[in-house]
Every structure is written in structure tokens, then in C-alpha cells.
């Protein structure tokens, strides 16, 4: 069993005291910041990303980052259940029954089941990841520049199709992101593009800076426009632990949610969100009491929570094996890898096996820590939730400002957050989703490089993308996706799916 020896290597790596410690810090910080209302996983990661730059070992840095990701996601579920406020789209469905359970004083079981379901899903997804990644990387080795280019086209198109809102606008955001990614020195000619003679810009714009401006600052300004209006549960939480009946009722939804999430998570785009929505719909369908959904039934929390965790974990598969980020969080992971001089792609598995398997195993450890950490600490998270926003946002601003500075020990990066904050604010006002832009931003230079190489090899023959079979298949899938989403019937279905909120 090759998988087992890989996993053994992974657990050895992830199990060192240092890595365990940073995994724990990541999970802890992620949860602590993720539970703060109005701060989703993206903003949390953007804020904490520069801290991981300080770590010298890329494996440790990625392990910590992954820990932050799980932590912030679980933290998001906590806010969804307790304050009726989903931190991100994946926990939108958790709100439906989770908050109702909390109103009935059953927040404890809801939070506990969310943790248990996530842990089960995380365990299964870890094994799926270990089993699926090597064969997929095998395929990826057959990829030439043309295939990579087409794969990125597919990835970006799929991310757009599965995202919320207008498809054309999302495509525009992707292209704008690609263009912003061009800022900096062109690797081929050495020309500093779009840098306007500003020396700091020749290295390009820092990813954390873009993310902070668009997701951190813009969000704060928008929140300030709204009247503070949060219904925090004042009532006592009766009984932390789920009853035997709760566990029995949740078992099958967790298993089904995990299966759904493991499958859908590999798809580019909102893997976790799609998984959670489908799981909720499925549970409602198979339930004997569908009328209870939405009134605080535990199955409605267990299934989607397991699904979104499995989904988010499986979204690591394309990132680790193909170097393709399928969502904005994975784009951040790729940026972190590149900071440590690791070029994401199929070669990571063979060139950095300790990093690869260590990261995968740390996911399981991180999920275990989440359960251990959160069950006893739910009470403290609830306390954190009562911090009013007016005290919260100056702290977020400060941590972002410190973080942006620490990327290069330079105030220039702090100032660079400003134009992106303004852009992010404008995007929100115009209903343009910023997440696709972030994907494009990360992929910009890579895509150009693959396009350039493919066309150099083919001597300028652009048909190369259609004559190479693998590349053709990828482009055809992308085209089908686009056609489907514009066909009126499907467009309507899609609208309905995102309307369930």
C-alpha cells in the first residue's frame, strides 16, 4: 500500500513539535478571528497571511495557513449558528437550521454536531486526497504548456460559472484580475510593466495587499454604512453535548454530506458552497419530515457542515496536483507557496514530498484539533461574539496594516491597500464579485507564460490548443459550461439555486 507509506511520511512531518504547534496556532487564530462577525475566511487568511511569511520552513507555513483556513471556516459556522450571520457563502445553509436550533437553546448540540460532522468529513477527505492526488498528478505530468493554458481557461470559466451573480461581469472581473496580475517585471523581456516608474511596483503587487484591501478594508467601510443591528442570543445555552438521539439522527446526513462534498469539492469554483447547498437539498428530500427543515432540525446542520468541510478540503486536490487554484482561498495558498519559492504543480509531490504529504496529514491533525479546541471553548467564542463592531473594526484595520507592512518591511505595501480598498468598495456597490478577480490575479503571469511557451513551441500556430487532444477536451468542457450557463433554462435554475438564502 503506497498510500500508507506516503501517509506515514506525512504524519512524521506534520507530527513534529514545531509543526504541531503552528498547526494549533493556526487553528486557534483562525477560529478566534473567524468567529468575529463580518470577517469571513478570506479576510481572516488575508490578515494572517503575512505572519506565515515570517516562518522559514514552507511546510510549516502552509500547515499553519491550512490550520487558519479550517479554523476560520469553523469560526464562520459558529457565527452562522449563533448570530444568524454567515461569514461566507458556504455557511449560508448552516444558518437555516443552525440559528433556529440556537434560538431554541440548542446552540450547544448544533455547534458540537458541526464540529463532529466536520471532523468526520475531514478524516474521509484526507484519505480521498491521499488516494486521488498521485494519479491526478500522473496525468498532470503529461501536460505541456498548451494543456496548462487550456486548463487555466477551464478553471477560470468554471469558477465564474459556479459563482454567484452575473456571468459576464464575473468574466470581466477575471480578465481585470489577469491584467492586474501583469503588473511588475515581465520574466521574459525584463520590462517593468504598468509600474509607472515606481520601484516597488516592479516586483508586482503583493497578493496579501490586494486581498486585504478588497476583502478587509472595503468590507469595513460597507459595514459602517449599515446600522449596527445584530441579534446576539442572550439566552443561556442549555446542554452543550448532543443527545444520543441527535447523534443517531445526524449520522447518515454526515455520511451523505461527506460523500457529496468529496465529489463536488474537486470541481473548480464554489466547491464548498455547492456541496453545502446540495447536501441541504438532499437531506430535505430523503427526510421523513421535510417540513421540519428550517425550524431547527439537526440533520439540516450536520449534512451541510460535513459537506462544506469535505468540499473545502478536496479543493486542495487541483491546487496541489495541478497548481490550479479553484477558489480564492486556494489562490492565497498558491501565493504563499510562491513566496517560499515553490512552484505549485504536479512536481511538488516528487520534489517536496515532505511538504506535500505533511500538509495533507496536517489537515487531519488540524481537524482533530478543531474538535478538541472547540468543544470546550464554545463558551468563550460566544463571549467574543458580543464584542460590538465599533470596537472590532479598528483592530482589524490595525492588524491588516501591521500585516501589510511586515510583508516587505515597507510602508509602501500599506499604502497599496488603499487603491484596492477603493476598487473593492466600488465592486461591491456595483455587484461585481471580487473573488474571480483574485483568481485571475494569481494566474495572470502563469497563464501568459504558458501561452507564450505553447506558441513558441508551435511556431506561432494558435491552432495548437485545438489540435492537442487533451487541450481540446479541456477547452470543449469550458465552452460547454459557458453555453450551458447562458441557456435560459439553466440560467433560471442557477438563479434559483443561489436564491435559497
Amino acid at each position: 500500500m503506497e498510500v500508507l507509506s506516503h501517509l506515514a511520511l506525512g504524519f512524521q512531518t506534520a507530527g513534529t513539535l514545531e509543526n504541531l504547534m503552528y498547526c494549533f496556532i493556526g487553528v486557534f487564530l483562525g477560529t478566534a478571528i473567524g468567529v468575529l462577525p463580518g470577517i469571513g475566511p478570506l479576510a481572516t487568511i488575508a490578515m494572517l497571511l503575512p505572519i506565515t511569511y515570517q516562518l522559514s520552513d514552507p511546510t510549516t507555513a502552509l500547515i499553519m495557513l491550512a490550520g487558519i483556513y479550517y479554523g476560520s471556516q469553523y469560526g464562520g459556522s459558529t457565527t452562522a449558528i449563533l448570530v444568524n450571520l454567515p461569514g461566507e457563502s458556504a455557511s449560508v445553509v448552516t444558518v437555516l437550521d443552525g440559528y433556529q436550533m440556537a434560538r431554541k437553546g440548542r446552540a450547544g448540540p448544533a455547534l458540537a454536531i458541526a464540529a463532529i460532522g466536520s471532523f468526520f468529513a475531514g478524516t474521509v477527505a484526507t484519505f480521498m486526497l491521499a488516494a486521488f492526488a498521485p494519479p491526478l498528478a500522473e496525468v498532470a505530468f503529461k501536460f505541456g504548456p498548451a494543456e496548462y493554458f487550456s486548463l487555466m481557461v477551464l478553471g477560470l470559466v468554471a469558477a465564474v460559472v459556479l459563482a454567484n451573480g452575473s456571468v459576464v461581469k464575473a468574466l470581466g472581473m477575471v480578465v481585470l484580475g489577469l491584467l492586474l496580475g501583469m503588473i511588475g517585471t515581465d520574466v521574459n523581456s525584463g520590462v517593468a510593466r504598468f509600474s509607472f516608474d515606481i520601484p516597488e511596483l516592479t516586483d508586482g503587487v503583493e497578493f496579501a495587499v490586494v486581498a486585504m484591501g478588497m476583502f478587509g478594508f472595503a468590507e469595513i467601510i460597507l459595514n459602517l454604512e449599515q446600522k449596527e443591528d445584530r441579534s446576539i442570543l442572550s439566552g443561556k445555552i442549555k446542554g452543550l453535548f448532543p443527545t444520543w438521539a441527535d447523534l443517531k439522527a445526524s449520522a447518515m446526513p454526515i455520511v451523505r454530506g461527506t460523500a457529496l462534498g468529496s465529489f463536488l469539492g474537486i470541481l473548480p469554483g464554489g466547491g464548498a458552497t455547492l456541496s453545502a447547498f446540495s447536501s441541504y437539498a438532499l437531506e430535505k428530500k430523503v427526510s421523513k419530515h421535510p417540513e421540519l427543515f428550517g425550524t431547527g432540525t439537526i440533520e439540516g446542520v450536520a449534512g451541510p457542515e460535513a459537506a462544506n468541510n469535505a468540499g473545502s478540503q478536496m479543493s486542495f486536490v487541483p491546487m496541489l496536483t495541478l497548481g490550479l487554484p479553484t477558489n480564492a482561498v486556494m489562490a492565497l495558498m498558491i501565493a504563499a507557496m510562491m513566496i517560499h519559492n515553490i512552484q505549485p504543480g504536479p512536481q511538488v509531490m516528487s520534489s517536496n514530498p515532505t511538504l506535500f504529504w505533511g500538509l495533507i496529514c496536517s489537515m487531519w491533525i488540524g481537524n482533530l484539533m478543531l474538535v478538541i479546541l472547540n468543544l470546550p471553548m464554545i463558551g468563550i467564542w460566544i463571549k467574543l461574539l458580543t464584542i460590538p463592531y465599533r470596537l472590532l473594526y479598528p483592530a482589524i484595520l490595525l492588524f491588516c496594516a501591521i500585516g501589510a507592512y511586515s510583508v516587505n518591511n515597507n510602508t509602501f505595501d500599506v499604502l497599496m491597500t488603499i487603491p484596492f480598498a477603493i476598487l473593492g468598495y466600488a465592486f461591491k456597490k456595483l455587484d461585481c464579485e471580487p473573488a474571480p478577480l483574485l483568481l485571475g490575479f494569481v494566474l495572470g503571469k502563469l497563464m501568459e507564460e504558458y501561452l507564450r511557451r505553447a506558441l513558441t513551441i508551435s511556431r506561432g500556430d494558435a491552432t495548437v490548443f485545438f489540435t492537442r487532444p487533451l487541450s481540446l477536451v479541456l477547452l470543449i468542457i469550458a465552452a460547454i459550461l459557458l453555453v450551458l450557463v447562458f441557456s435560459p433554462k439553466i440560467a433560471k435554475k442557477r438563479e434559483e439555486a443561489f436564491q435559497e438564502e
Binding site: 510593466r193 460590538p388 490595525l398 496594516a401 501591521i402 511586515s406 500599506v414 480598498a421 455587484d431
Partner: protein
């Protein structure tokens, strides 16, 4: 004629403006040939694509049955105060050190809230100051002046 779908219309304007800007800027770089792409090649193509997408977004907004949307008011107060406090932080940090710049950031940005009180702002400055001193200066050993450089010299 009145444009009903304001949000999409202005999104389109934004896309087209960015597209044109990037095309114009790219024209300063060598375009090259398809076989040997110059630094201007890919950005120019992307710029054209962005303009085309902008037009695609704009066209339906001229229809009579377009959905009616409004951009909504711009929160100038929040924008200027929040972003201003970050700019001030960046300007003050190398000149007056971390303690003064963080206090400026926290207090000034807190004023953007409708429920601003001096007591709460000062208290959170002290708490955040101590916390970030311990975590970022002592713990992570980030490099920046803590006190005004002219005092410690």
C-alpha cells in the same frame, strides 16, 4: 433616455475604462509576434477582451425591460476616515514610530462609527497597543521603530 440598470451600466463603464487604459499602457511595450510574444502582447489581448466584455455588460442596460438597479449612496465619511487613517499610519510609522501611529489609526478610524466614544477608543488603543507590542514586536520580532526615532537616538 434613462438607463434603468445603473449597477450594470457603471460596471460596464469601469470595465471599458480599465480595458482602454491597459491597452494604451501596453502600447508602450513591444508587441512581438505570436511566435515570440513581446511584453505588450498578452495585456493588449486581455485589454481588448475586457472592453468587449464591458460592451456585453452594457448592451442589455439600454433595453426598456432592463431590471432597475441603483448604485446606492457612497459612504464618503467611512471611505475617507477609514482609508485616511490607514494612510496616516503608513506615513507616521517610519517617522514617529509604532506607538503613535497605531494610536492614530485606532482612534481616528473609530471615529467613523456613529457610536464613537472617547472612552472606548482610548481603552481599545491601550489594549490593542499592548497586545500588538507583545505579539508583533516581542513575539514575531517584526522590524519597525516602536518609539519616535528622534527620541531613542
Amino acid at each position: 433616455m434613462k438607463i434603468k440598470n445603473q449597477k450594470d451600466f457603471w460596471s460596464a463603464v469601469m470595465f471599458i475604462v480599465f480595458g482602454v487604459l491597459f491597452i494604451a499602457w501596453s502600447s508602450e511595450y513591444q508587441f512581438g509576434t505570436t511566435q515570440r510574444m513581446g511584453p505588450g502582447y498578452f495585456p493588449t489581448i486581455l485589454g481588448i477582451l475586457l472592453v468587449l466584455l464591458g460592451i456585453l455588460v452594457a448592451l442589455p442596460t439600454f433595453k426598456h425591460d432592463a431590471a432597475e438597479t441603483h448604485v446606492g449612496e457612497i459612504g464618503w465619511r467611512g471611505l475617507t476616515v477609514i482609508l485616511g487613517s490607514v494612510i496616516l499610519y503608513a506615513v507616521l510609522l517610519p517617522r514617529l514610530g509604532f506607538v503613535i501611529s497605531m494610536a492614530t489609526l485606532v482612534i481616528l478610524s473609530a471615529m467613523a462609527s456613529r457610536e464613537f466614544t472617547w472612552k472606548a477608543a482610548l481603552l481599545s488603543t491601550i489594549v490593542l497597543g499592548l497586545f500588538s507590542y507583545l505579539v508583533f514586536v516581542k513575539g514575531l520580532e517584526l522590524q519597525f521603530p516602536v518609539w519616535p526615532p528622534f527620541l531613542t537616538r
